[in-house]
Amino acid sequence: MLRFSFIFRGRGVAKRFASSFSNESALPPNLLLPTNLVDPDRLKRPPPPADSSLPPLRKCDAAVPAHLTPVQAWVESLERQDSEPLGVAQLHPDVFAVPPRLDILHSVETWQRNYKRISHAHTKVRSEVSGGGRKPWKQKGSGRARHGSIRSPIWRGGGVSHGPRGPTSYYYMLPMKVRVQGLKVALSSKMAQDDLHIVDSLNIPTPDSQYLLDLIRHRHWGESVLIVDVGEDFSENILQATANLKTVNVIPAIGLNVHSMLKHEAIVLTLETVKFLEDKLLWHDERYTPLYPFKLPYSDFP
């Protein structure tokens, strides 16, 4: 264990492999290790135990089923870099502890990639290529092969017989409950792998990007962080701090989606975001099937 204390984060695992090589240039320069390999620095503060005696800062609003217990998570603060967590929050198990359905994650991710895809590949058919109306030479007697037009697909410069035709769309919609379940599975997976962090609010002392980077590196959150907050108004400091950063992004809670959650290593939610997400995602478990689209007015919704 003494050896680990000398290894800086990121090359911890690599250095263990390095000792087995005999020659000097141990690691190939193009080695890419995933940054979320089990890192000894991150195991310092375990998540709060299920039966912790601390009073929770936030309890679940919706009723938790009797056979499940709420998930406990630390509530941290962004004010100071090395501050201790403020308390414990309880999260609904039907949103943050669902079974990990990787097939649903895959289908939601492929849906996100494909439903807005428009392929503009287009080729001209033999009738659309300019020219080629006249028979090039007479049918018999010239000694050459018989042809009807100079733009047939076997000619150079001729049309393409079975090529891509025009802008093509790949639009389809997954059932609403599948998309909702995809969000729940993504949140649960991030929670289970210790990549979900709850924060009381997004107030930062300085609009400095370096402060955020130092905070993230100090708390070992990962390389990329997705910060989610409810409402359109964000504090100026956080907007300015993340404006120049590529891997740290702020989105409103309405913009949460599976692809962004999988792309960023760590997710940071505020307490209001947790309430908003639980409210929106748990409603689908106990709703009636729509008789008409939900965008038309219902008496008891929203």
Partner: protein
């Protein structure tokens, strides 16, 4: 085990040859000419365990030979551009946003393809219905010819009609 960086410039390089006494030896070969290398390599090692770096040569008939590296450099892609890092945001605007908007409103497409999927005939008919009176004469004529051809092709030929 022969470990080397394949992207090193093809200058002097150390090659490891497997001798018949089952011992690894290091031989330095001067690699000024490719043809000389290959011939030298063939003469050096007779057994089957030799590793040769094959570099393609293009001969134009004269003595000037073009050298190419066998393995091209991988292209450098920035995975965190604005478009890539914000991809997919607002895709769940219906579920999370009270159903005031639908993800199909986010699609950037020609108007006859927004939230529509079909085969070529269906797309062509929809285009003619929605945009046909705005099209140029030659394009519209080509579209009508295409619709006529595809209708006959799908409905009168083949197994499915």
């Amino acid at each position: 085990m022969f470990v080397s960086d394949p992207w090193l410039r093809y200058k002097q390089r150390t090659r490891v040859a497997y001798d018949s006494e089952h011992a690894w030896k290091q031989k330095t070969v001067d690699m000024s000419l490719l043809g000389g290398l290959l011939r030298a390599g063939a003469s050096y090692c007779q057994s089957a365990g030799t590793l040769l770096h094959t570099v393609r040569t293009i001969s134009t008939g004269t003595c000037c030979q073009i050298r190419m590296h066998a393995i091209p450099q991988p292209k450098k892609v920035d995975r965190w551009t604005e478009k890539r890092s914000m991809y997919g945001v607002y895709d769940n605007i219906g579920i999370l946003g009270d159903f005031k908007a639908h993800p199909k409103d986010l699609i950037v497409a020609p108007c006859w393809l927004k939230a529509f999927k079909g085969n070529e005939l269906q797309r062509a008919i929809r285009k003619k219905k929605m945009v046909g009176d705005r099209m140029m004469t030659q394009d519209r004529h080509d579209l009508e010819k295409r619709i006529r051809f595809l209708y006959r092709r799908f409905n009168r030929t083949g197994k499915h009609r």
